[in-house]
Point group: C2
Chain length 628, copies 2
């Protein structure tokens, strides 16, 4: 069975529901999908045209030497946008977008060589030869995004010219890098996860085998040495031997996703267990409160264990997309709700904030502490991604996030619900309609949730021809004291984890989950040096932050301390904490009693969701608040 | 009057004494100078030959296309080593080194163009043209180091072939970048400070004027845009308008040094005041406890105010050299002892530890927290400088520190003492002999000090034909309760700052300063987020650290907390603190009560001087210790 879905394993604990089965009907994510469709995808298309990253394909097709625009991986942005468009067409059937998609397909097809090779950066007159720089060339990485776009197309519209391009590319990759061919890797993982899914979508076993071959090559010295060392590209150790995610965060997470797919499809329990082990340690020691991954600006990399500086957190937006990919695959394989917790955390605190509410500007990195009140970048200039800090920018020289977010937003409903033999599970809470076929027959549900403003989630049965089945719900790990009300009105307190109600549901039956969404203090593991002596405030799945615009008298967030003895107060949708603003004199900052205070003022400070930071005047911001 | 001295301003509060006037006669720095002479300089010479960085000069001289070795700035390493050799020849008269110096001179001279241009990376057949990439080409930066070497030579041996090369280079720079010429900058400051001093040493006003012209060009958009932005090269703002040091730390400090020289020579009080202001704020907000400057691996840069993560501190060794250069110039200009405090801090905690005790391996960065017990790098391979972390390496791809340390060690006695109309001041304490001419006539002193193992410094008058004069001594800012004993035995408690004794000293008269060198707790300014809730131990000028090899049962420094209620204990040259080793389970590290403890053991931990870290087995290390 093919469905409108980005990930469709042939086995595993849970079977995912596609975007044709789950529709987001409102709320924050409904608005986000609409903005994505109406603004963000168009915005990306505009910039890709403006900068000539699409025109590269036509120039490459010309056979003449040409001046190429963009970085070596710019083709991938076109593919990621194509994927976003494909999902959006699948979701809404937008005819305007279908026309654009067809035009894009033609322009790409023209650049494809007869043997399937397709890349605008290599192999053309005046360019370096194909595959001459696998460490940094990103040719296979770009293919990967093309294949993922083709999966979207194949599973929403079926075979077409775009899918044909992808088939030729996939065959070419197997020819060149398969048995007896070049036994090498790409410096940026992505082809693995893409080939595995394209194999699932097309039924071509050869693609899956090639994905497995790539996975097996890591840590075996097939990638050249140079640049920041083998850890950067996860080539330091074979995937199944590694203990933790490391090196470049996006690379590490794309690789982990591909490894799970290969493990699941080949029944390789050892490999699956290896990735779980790496994920667990990464969450315990290398992940920020926001779910942000990648502690370092240097190399955009995971840092060492417990090296989690809030102000130098990189927490790249694309690492957020990739973390959702990894967590979702682990959830499908194991059925454990903790993976859904992480998806929720990343979605609300990285993905939601990485794109401005209007879908026209983006964060590349998502640090948890912004020390300077940076001005708004110009709306008409691509920003160096390394310079992007306190405000969202319209585009970057390395502009991986806008298109990556666009494809994720367009396919977001695919991460909401699953089914298994026993019934149906809802993992993410938002207004939605769900319609699928269970073992016993078709069911339809309506999910109502003003979440996380309210903690009440109501699942109403709209149709049930499946007889008795089990509705599973995720109680997030932070939700101590949650209450579940079954269809006949019986209330029970439930523990974090998976809860369920089994019934032969009647139409109109409603299962209600009440999650405690009062704001709460959160404390860090004492081994996280960078936030020792600090607390954060969370509210439901939201991480909150303080911005200097909410402090009196032009004070900076650096001058704020909070009284963690008093609970944070939530009222009328706002959250405040009590604390003080301090003023200190400058001197040598170390000694028996440094930093003598010169002033102190009691304050009640309003906090806002981290994802809404930097949407007012320029401000300093921090998530972790020093305690008094 | 010319002296054997690296910095000789024509005015200022204090007149520096040269290496011919102050000789280090023993102790740590005496050993360091001997190791530098006998091992480190030879080690550098070996690597420069081995890697072909010297041979580049011969190849460039050939007029044929050649494959050049090393990075674009490798010429400068040869010049810095030449400077080290020149000082060492001046200090000891070593004939073997004099021969090597002559050979080096010949090889360089051959590569100089008739118009004075000298660089092995540009302008030769097959290379890019001269000055075609001022942002990254480092041509003027390399000249700067050549001129500083020539200052050393001119002031120790007088005019020779080497000085001739430098004169031609300096004239060429004035011709090309002077009035009516290229009004541009080099992306790496250094030419400014070098031209100013070469102007002082040669008496050529034109060189000083050119230094001033360069200083005045910063922040005026004469440097191309690209790379990490104008702040990186201090080209964001004119020097006299800046509020703090920023961007690449070594660049910033070389520039500050040059600006002080220009300010002093031109009587530009506003410019001098601007640099002082920048220095003061840099010390209050952007400097590590060790005196290390540069908070970031990214761009090797100063971070934002109070962004001082110990584990990601870059605190580059060369920034230590450069901080001494800046502080010394400010000390000479103003006479304030606080600058001497900073020189002491940097010398003992950055410079001393950046080179291994045997002078054969080096730290490029000097973070205050090492999270992994890194293995010893191979002794026969240059290490990528970005990969250099927990252990010293014999050489780097970017190997600026070994030669920079060598030239500093060889000329170290030039930073010990000064004179003025009233008398003589001693700023740094080590066994030394001082012989100079005061206003009233010649004096000779012997300094005895087993410092900082002991806090007692004895200054004995060996000769006095100057009548009554004032001996000034620096009481470091940490030395609360210091005691000064005058020549007639009168003892008095003295405050940190400058203290003095005025007398018509007789031969044998001794002035004794007793500094309290018991180990002490040091606390950070509460605005330094990264070390909140931590204390460090200092002992005299030494910052101490804990290494995991001193913890029981294979514990890591990440598991250590200390009881800051009990004073650190010093006994028999060792220092211990009381604390606990904790064991915790791994889980999601944020919540109401994360990181539950699974074990706890009371410990007495020995601490060692930071500069001696990484000289035993591989270990984790930290300076800032979490309190209980």
């Amino acid at each position: 069975m093919n469905k409108s879905i980005p990930v469709l394993p042939s086995r595993g604990a849970l079977r995912p529901l596609g975007i044709d089965e789950v529709r987001i009907t409102g709320g924050y994510w409904g608005r986000r999908q609409r903005t994505n469709a109406e603004v963000q995808i168009r915005h990306c298309l505009h910039w890709l045209e403006e900068l000539g990253w699409i025109a590269n394909f036509e120039k490459a097709a010309s056979g003449e030497p040409f001046e190429r625009a963009g970085r070596e991986f710019s083709d991938s942005e076109v593919y990621k946008l194509a994927e976003a468009m494909a999902w959006e067409i699948g979701r809404t059937g937008s005819p305007g977008l279908e026309e654009e998609f067809a035009r894009l397909t033609e322009r790409m097809a023209a650049a494809q060589e007869p043997d399937g090779y397709l890349n605008t950066r290599f192999g053309h007159p005046g360019q370096e030869p194909r595959y001459s720089n696998l460490e940094w060339g990103h040719e296979l990485y770009c293919y990967g995004h093309l294949l993922q776009a083709a999966v979207a197309r194949l599973r929403t519209r079926g075979e077409d010219g775009f899918v044909q391009i992808a088939r030729k590319v996939a065959d070419h990759v197997c020819d060149v890098f398969g048995p007896g061919g070049l036994e090498r890797l790409d410096g940026h993982a992505e082809i693995e996860v893409a080939l595995a899914e394209f194999g699932r979508a097309t039924g071509e076993r050869r693609y899956l085998d090639q994905a497995k071959a790539f996975i097996d090559r890591y840590g075996r010295d097939t990638l050249g040495r140079g640049g920041p060392g083998p850890e950067y590209s996860q080539d330091d150790v074979p995937v199944r031997e590694a203990e933790v995610l490391r090196g470049h965060a996006v690379r590490a997470l794309y690789l982990a996703s591909g490894a799970i797919d290969v493990a699941v499809e080949t029944g390789d329990g050892e490999l699956l267990e290896a990735v779980r082990r790496q994920w667990d340690r990464t969450l315990a020691r290398r992940t920020h409160l926001t779910g942000g991954m990648g502690s370092r600006y240097s190399d955009e990399a995971f840092g060492e264990d417990f090296s989690l500086s809030p102000d130098r957190a990189y927490a790249e937006s694309c690492a957020g997309v990739a973390a959702v990919m990894t967590a979702w695959r682990l959830l499908l394989a194991t059925g454990e709700t903790a993976y859904g917790d992480m998806i929720e955390r990343v979605a609300w605190n990285i993905l939601a904030g990485a794109a401005a509410p209007d879908g026209q500007s983006f964060f590349y990195a998502n640090p948890l502490h912004q020390r300077t009140a940076d001005p708004e970048p110009p709306a008409d200039r691509a920003m160096p991604h390394v310079a992007a800090r306190g405000r969202r920018a319209p585009w970057f020289d390395v502009s991986c996030c806008p298109t990556n977010l666009a494809r994720t937003f367009a396919s977001l409903s695919a991460y909401v619900a699953t089914a298994d033999e026993a019934g149906l599970q809802i993992h993410q809470y938002m207004p939605a309609s769900v319609a699928t076929e269970l073992a016993g027959g078709p069911v339809e549900l309506a999910v109502e949730a003003d979440y996380p403003d309210s903690g009440t989630i109501a699942v109403r049965v709209e149709r049930n021809e499946a007889g008795e089945w089990t509705l599973g719900l995720r109680v997030p790990s932070w939700a101590e004291g949650a209450v579940l009300t079954g269809p006949s009105g019986e209330r029970r307190e439930v523990e974090p984890g998976a809860v369920s109600v089994t019934a032969d549901f009647a139409v109109g039956d409603t299962v209600r989950l009440e999650l405690p969404v009062a704001p709460r203090w959160t404390r860090p593991d004492p081994r996280i040096d960078a936030v020792r002596g600090c607390v954060a405030v969370e509210q439901g799945p939201l991480v909150l932050c303080a911005e200097s615009v909410d402090l009196p008298g032009g004070a900076d967030v650096a001058e704020l301390t909070v009284d963690a003895g008093k609970a944070p107060v939530g009222h009328d949708g706002a959250v405040t904490v009590a604390g003080h603003v301090h003023r200190s004199a400058d001197a040598w900052p170390y000694g028996p009693d440094p930093g003598p205070e010169t002033g102190r003022e009691a304050v009640e400070v309003g906090l806002i969701p981290f994802h809404l930071r930097a949407t007012r005047e320029p401000a300093t911001m921090r998530v972790w608040l020093p305690t008094e």
